[in-house]
Structure formats: structure tokens, C-alpha cells
Symmetry: C2
Subunit: 138 residues, 2 copies
DNA sequence: TTATATTTGCAACAACGTTTCAATTAAATT
DNA sequence: AATTTAATTGAAACGTTGTTGCAAATATAA
């Protein structure tokens, strides 16, 4: 059994061709993927709508998370092991290189706790870093 | 001369009906606005495409800034005085209430500096807070 | 192997956003 | 105040993104 199959089962999802293929795409990638990144990797034979639904099911299952970025595009990345269905547990920052456009998780950087004005109850926080990555310097 | 006219001129923009109306909408609002929020406020007589261009010119002029949020919708808010054409200078956090959906700037909270892994050069950072606002508690 | 509940593919639809081009308008100049 | 010039606007057309409803296909439990 592939690691992808295993991951799907462990998170309570049925194993289907469509899901395995998308899962493999994430596992092969170091960076966060947009919808069109994924389509480029898995080819065109898979239905567009199915892909949206696959991503939704992965997100709900705690397999991937959405990453906000300053450009407001939607990107997804694999979750750490600590995520479970309906229970995402993310404390890490995200970084987008403005030269190559690649986005990735920065597990070394925790999102700091901040004290907010009275009355506001903060339940989650995201830290989005933008700049230039190792490969694009110079 | 209205404050809106003045703001437009000071940031090097021609004063037009379309721009004045949009600027007033921002000045009247405590919260960040989506495209459709703005359209609701200014009415339908203004062309949709013009609005996109107006927002783009405001952003370039340092009058408004885009706010990322976890839902990946695009929202805009007025900039602080310290912003100028081509030179946005934002250190504040943003907060979105998951109940009422309103987003606003939290000037009391600065985006903290973090030390990133070697090789990455960070040029800007966003801190996005999500939770429940004063009005939606209970 | 069969039953059933989930997943898929298709059609249709709606929202968002951009580009091109001609017409209009703001503001600088005379 | 009229003219000139450069910026702005509106309309049409287009592409991408994302959703919903329904019938057909398929994964899993029995």
C-alpha cells in the first residue's frame, strides 16, 4: 500500500484514483500548490470539479491546509502529522518568494501570540512572510 | 474642497467623480471593504471595471491597502497617513470576525519581527487574526 | 457477490478580474 | 475662456475560479 493510500485511510477517506493522484502530487512537492499547479502535475484527464471536491475533503480530513498570501491566491500544502479530521493545529508561518512565486511552510517560525484590544477574542492567527528565497537572491 | 478631493490630489491622482465617491465610501466605513461592499454603498451606476481601476490606482497611490484573510477574499482599507505613492508602510495586524465577517485594521498590534531560516530574506510580513469581535460575543 | 452510501463527471451557472479600443473628461497651456 | 493633451471611463469580449444539482459509477461494508 502506498503512503498516499495509507494517509487517506488513516484520515477516514475512501481511497479513489482521483484522491491518490492528488495526494502523490502533494507528496512530491516541496512547496504549496495552487489549483492550477496541481492540474499541471496530474494532467487534464481529471475533472476540474472533482479536484475542488478532493481538496475540500483533504482539508476537512486534516490532510492539507490552505495558505493565505498577500496576493490572495489560494494555495494548499500538506499538514503536519499533528492534524486530524476537523482539528487543524498550525502554529507555523508561511513564506512566499516574490521573485519565483513559490510558497512554503516555515516550521521553524511559530506564529507569535499577541495581546489584542479589549473585547476581541482571537482564535487563530496566521503569519505571512514575503521576500526573496535562497534560490532567487543575487 | 472635500477631504476626499484633498486626499486624491495629495497622492497625485486626478480628481474624478468615480474616485471621489469611492473615497467617501472608505471614509465612512470603520471596516475593510470588499468589492461588493463598495458596490453596495456607491450604487450600481458606476461601471464595474472602473471600480477595479479606481482601487488599483488608490493602492498604487498609497491611499488604501489590500488585506489578506484566511478566506482569501480581497478586502481594502484606508492607509495610515504614513503611506505614500509606491511606498506602503504597514506594521499593523488585521482582524476578521468569523461571525459577522467584518475585517479591520488593529493598529495597536504590531507585526512582530521573527528570525527566519538562513537564506530567506523577509521583506514584509502580515499578521492575520481571526476570532470573534466585541459585538458578536456571547 | 450484493447492497448502500460515497464519489465522480457533466451541464449550467455565477462571480471575479483583465484587456482592448473608442469616447469622454480633468487639468495644463495659451 | 477656449484649446490642447494626457488620463480616465465605459462597453464588449474573454478567461479563470468556484459552486450546485443530478445521474452514473465505484469503494467499501455486509
Amino acid at each position: 500500500m502506498t503512503n498516499s493510500r495509507k494517509a487517506l485511510k488513516e484520515h477516514g477517506l475512501r481511497v479513489t484514483e482521483a484522491r491518490e493522484v492528488v495526494m502523490e502530487a502533494f507528496r512530491d512537492s516541496e512547496q504549496a500548490l495552487t489549483i492550477s499547479d496541481i492540474r499541471d502535475r496530474i494532467g487534464d484527464d481529471q475533472d476540474r470539479i472533482t479536484l475542488y471536491r478532493t481538496l475540500k475533503s483533504f482539508e476537512e480530513a486534516g490532510l492539507i491546509h490552505r495558505i493565505p498570501d498577500e496576493e490572495h491566491s489560494v494555495k494548499y500544502a500538506l499538514c503536519p502529522e499533528s492534524c486530524h479530521p476537523g482539528d487543524h493545529d498550525h502554529h507555523h508561518a508561511h513564506f512566499t518568494c516574490k521573485v519565483c512565486g513559490k510558497t512554503r511552510c516555515i516550521y521553524e517560525v511559530f506564529v507569535p501570540r499577541v495581546s489584542t484590544p479589549q473585547g476581541i477574542r482571537v482564535e487563530s492567527a496566521e503569519l505571512i512572510l514575503t521576500g526573496v528565497c535562497e534560490n532567487c537572491q543575487g
